[in-house]
C-alpha cells in the first residue's frame, strides 16, 4: 500500500517515534540476549573458569568430540526429543479429535488435560519421582497389585530415559491437544460435507481432509516440541542427576554441570554453541516452512 503525500517530514518523525518506542525493549534485548550470546561464542574459545581467561582456540571444541559424557548427552537429548515428539503428536491429535465437540463434560476434560501443562516442571518431576520410587512408589504398588515384580524405574539404566520421556508426554499432551483442536475447528465444514456425499467414512475423511488441512500446525508443533525437548534440564537435574551412569544426562545438563559445579565456563560455552546450532537449525526450518515469517511481509 503506497501513500503519496505521507513522505518527507511526517515519515521522518514517524521513524523517530518508532525507534523511540522500540528502544526500551531493544535495550533489554541487547544487554540480556544479544550480548550474552556474543560473549558466549567468545568464551567458548577460552579456558575461562571465573578467574583465568586465556585464548585457547578450538581446543574446547576438539575436546567435545572425545568427551564420552557429552557425546552420550547428545544421543540422550536426540532420543528424548524424537521419542517424546512422536507419541505427543499422535496422542495429541487423537485427543483433539475426541474433544472436538462442545459439551460441559468435554470442557472439563480439556481443562483436566491442560493441568499438567500448567504445572511447573519441578512439581511434575517431584510427583513422578514419587510415582517411580522403587520402595514406596505408586507404579510398583500397581505392579504388585497385579502380581508383577517391582521395577527399578529411574534406577534402571535402560528404563530411566523412557521414564523421563513418559513423564514429558504426560506433561505436554494438553498443549498439543489444544493447538490441534484450534486447527481442527478451522477446517471448513464444507470439505467434510462434500466427502460425506461421496461416502467417505471417518478414517478416510481424517486421512484425506483433516491431516492435510492442519499440516502447518503439525510442522509448527514438531519444531516447537523438538526445540523444547532439546533444552531439557529440570527433570534430569531433579529426578536422576543424569544417571544412572549417564543414561539420562542431556546437553543442557552437561552445560550446567561443567559451568556451575566445575566452573569450566569456557568448555560449557562450547557446549552451548553446539546446542545453539542444533536448535537454530530446527528453528530455521520451522520459520521457512511455517507462517510466522510469512506475514512479516510489508502489508
Amino acid at each position: 500500500m503506497s501513500r503519496p503525500g505521507r513522505r518527507g517530514k511526517a515519515a521522518r518523525s514517524d521513524t523517530a517515534a518508532a525507534y523511540l518506542m522500540i528502544l526500551p525493549f531493544f535495550l533489554f534485548f541487547a544487554v540480556f540476549v544479544l550480548y550474552p550470546i556474543f560473549q558466549n561464542v567468545l568464551t567458548s574459545f577460552t579456558n575461562y573458569n571465573l578467574a583465568d581467561k586465556t585464548y585457547i582456540g578450538l581446543a574446547n571444541y576438539a575436546r567435545l568430540f572425545r568427551d564420552r559424557a557429552f557425546l552420550r548427552s547428545v544421543g540422550n537429548t536426540l532420543a528424548y526429543a524424537v521419542f517424546s515428539v512422536i507419541p505427543l503428536m499422535a496422542l495429541g491429535f487423537a485427543a483433539a479429535l475426541c474433544v472436538n465437540r462442545s459439551s460441559r463434560l468435554v470442557t472439563g476434560v480439556r481443562a483436566a488435560l491442560m493441568l499438567p501443562y500448567a504445572a511447573s516442571m519441578v512439581s511434575v518431576s517431584m510427583i513422578w519421582l514419587y510415582l517411580y520410587d522403587p520402595a514406596s512408589g505408586f507404579f510398583n504398588k500397581m505392579r504388585a497389585a497385579v502380581g508383577l515384580p517391582a521395577s527399578e524405574w529411574l534406577f534402571d539404566p535402560r528404563l530411566a530415559l523412557p521414564c523421563l520421556i513418559a513423564m514429558n508426554v504426560w506433561k505436554n499432551l494438553g498443549y498439543v491437544m489444544i493447538l490441534y483442536l484450534a486447527a481442527l475447528q478451522g477446517v471448513p465444514a464444507s470439505l467434510y460435507d462434500a466427502a460425506r456425499v461421496d461416502g467417505a467414512g471417518f478414517v478416510r475423511r481424517t486421512l484425506h481432509i483433516t491431516l492435510p488441512a492442519i499440516r502447518p500446525v503439525s510442522f509448527f508443533l514438531m519444531a516447537t516440541l523438538l526445540i523444547e525437548c532439546f533444552k531439557t534440564f529440570d527433570p534430569v537435574r531433579i529426578m536422576t542427576g543424569g544417571g544412572p551412569i549417564n543414561a539420562t544426562t542431556t546437553i543442557a545438563h552437561q552445560i550446567y554441570l561443567r559451568a556451575f559445579s566445575e566452573f569450566k565456563m569456557g568448555y560449557a560455552s562450547a557446549m552451548s554453541v553446539v546446542l545453539f546450532i542444533i536448535v537454530f537449525a530446527v528453528a530455521i526450518v520451522n520459520l521457512a516452512t511455517g507462517g510466522q515469517l510469512r506475514d512479516t511481509e510489508e502489508r
Binding site: 514517524d14 518508532a18 525493549f25 504445572a119 489444544i178 484450534a182
Partner: protein, 289 residues
C-alpha cells in the same frame, strides 16, 4: 467404521486420557495426607486412612514457606508488569509504523524466541555477577557480588523476552488502520495514539500475555537455581524450595507432596480462573492460517 463405533471409541479414549492426566495429581494429594508408614505400605489405595492433615503444617514450617511464596509472587508479578508495557509498545511500533530495518529487527525478535536459555546461561550469570555499581561492585563491575542473589537479578532478564513483542504485534495488525488516521488528524502523536487508543483496546491480548508470563515466571527453575546460589531463604523461590526436600537422605514423600500441592495451588488458580486467556496466548504463539 461407522459413526456409532467412532463415538463409543472416542468416549472410551476420553475417559482413559482424563484418568491418566489426573491420576498423578490424585496420588500427590493422597500421599500428602498419609503417614510415612502408610506411604510404605504395599497396599494400592488412594484413600488415606486415617487422614494426616498435619503433614502440611510440618512441610510448610520446614524452611520459611510464607517467604518462598512471597518471593515467587513478587518475581512473577514484577517481571510480568515490567515487560507487559514494553512488549505492547514495541509490538505497536512494529505493527503500525513503517521504519527502516523494521523487517530485519522483527526477524531478530523472532530469533530471540528460539534461543535456548542454556545458551545465555553462563554469560548472563557472569554479567549479573559483574553488573556495574550493584551489590558492592565498582563501575567496572568488580569487587562485589553484583546482582547475584537479588530480586533484580531474577526479574530483569524477563524484560528481554521476545514472545510478548511477537504476540502484541500480531494482535495490533488486526486493528483497522483508520484508528491511526483519525488519531493523527486529531493531532495525536504516535506514542499518544498507542497509549490512548491501542492500549485501552488491548485487554484480551495483554491478559493472555500476562497469564503466560506469570505462570512462566512462577514455574521457572533454572535461572533462580543459578542466580540465587547461596540458598538463603531471603531470596529462595517456591520451585527451588521444593527441591530442598531431596537434600536430607530419606525423602519424606508426604511432606514433599504437601509442599508440591501448595506450590501448584497458585498456578492452578490462575490457570482455572483465566483458562480462556491462557489458551488464547498459546494459540497466538502458533501459526495463523
Amino acid at each position: 467404521m461407522n459413526g456409532r463405533a467412532v463415538r463409543v471409541l472416542s468416549a472410551a479414549a476420553l475417559a482413559l486420557l482424563t484418568a491418566a492426566a489426573l491420576l498423578p495429581f490424585a496420588a500427590m494429594v493422597s500421599v500428602s495426607l498419609q503417614s510415612m508408614n502408610q506411604v510404605y505400605s504395599p497396599a494400592l489405595s488412594l484413600i488415606p486412612r486415617p487422614v494426616h492433615y498435619e503433614n502440611y503444617a510440618t512441610a510448610l514450617t520446614n524452611g520459611s514457606w510464607p517467604r518462598y511464596l512471597a518471593n515467587s509472587l513478587y518475581v512473577a508479578v514484577a517481571s510480568t508488569a515490567i515487560s507487559l508495557f514494553i512488549n505492547a509498545m514495541t509490538g505497536y511500533a512494529f505493527a503500525r509504523i513503517r521504519f527502516r530495518f523494521r523487517r530485519a529487527l522483527f526477524i531478530l525478535v523472532l530469533a530471540g524466541m528460539m534461543i535456548p536459555p542454556q545458551v545465555t546461561l553462563v554469560p548472563l550469570f557472569v554479567l549479573m555477577k559483574h553488573f556495574p555499581l550493584a551489590g558492592g561492585n565498582d563501575i567496572l563491575g568488580v569487587g562485589g557480588t553484583g546482582l547475584v542473589d537479588t530480586y533484580m537479578g531474577l526479574i530483569l532478564p524477563y524484560a528481554a523476552g521476545s514472545f510478548g513483542v511477537f504476540m502484541c504485534r500480531q494482535f495490533y495488525t488486526l486493528f483497522p488502520r483508520e484508528l491511526d488516521e483519525a488519531a493523527r488528524i486529531d493531532g495525536c502523536s504516535r506514542f499518544g495514539t498507542f497509549v490512548r487508543i491501542y492500549l485501552p483496546l488491548s485487554r484480551p491480548a495483554l491478559a493472555a500475555l500476562a497469564v503466560l508470563k506469570f505462570t512462566g515466571a512462577w514455574n521457572e527453575y533454572t535461572w533462580p537455581l543459578v542466580m540465587t546460589n547461596t540458598g538463603a531463604d531471603r531470596i529462595t523461590t517456591v520451585q527451588l524450595a521444593l527441591t530442598r526436600f531431596q537434600n536430607e537422605g530419606e525423602i519424606f514423600w508426604n511432606q514433599l507432596m504437601a509442599a508440591t500441592l501448595v506450590s501448584l495451588c497458585v498456578v492452578f488458580a490462575v490457570f482455572l480462573a483465566m483458562q480462556k486467556h491462557f489458551v488464547a496466548g498459546l494459540l497466538a504463539g502458533s501459526v495463523k492460517e
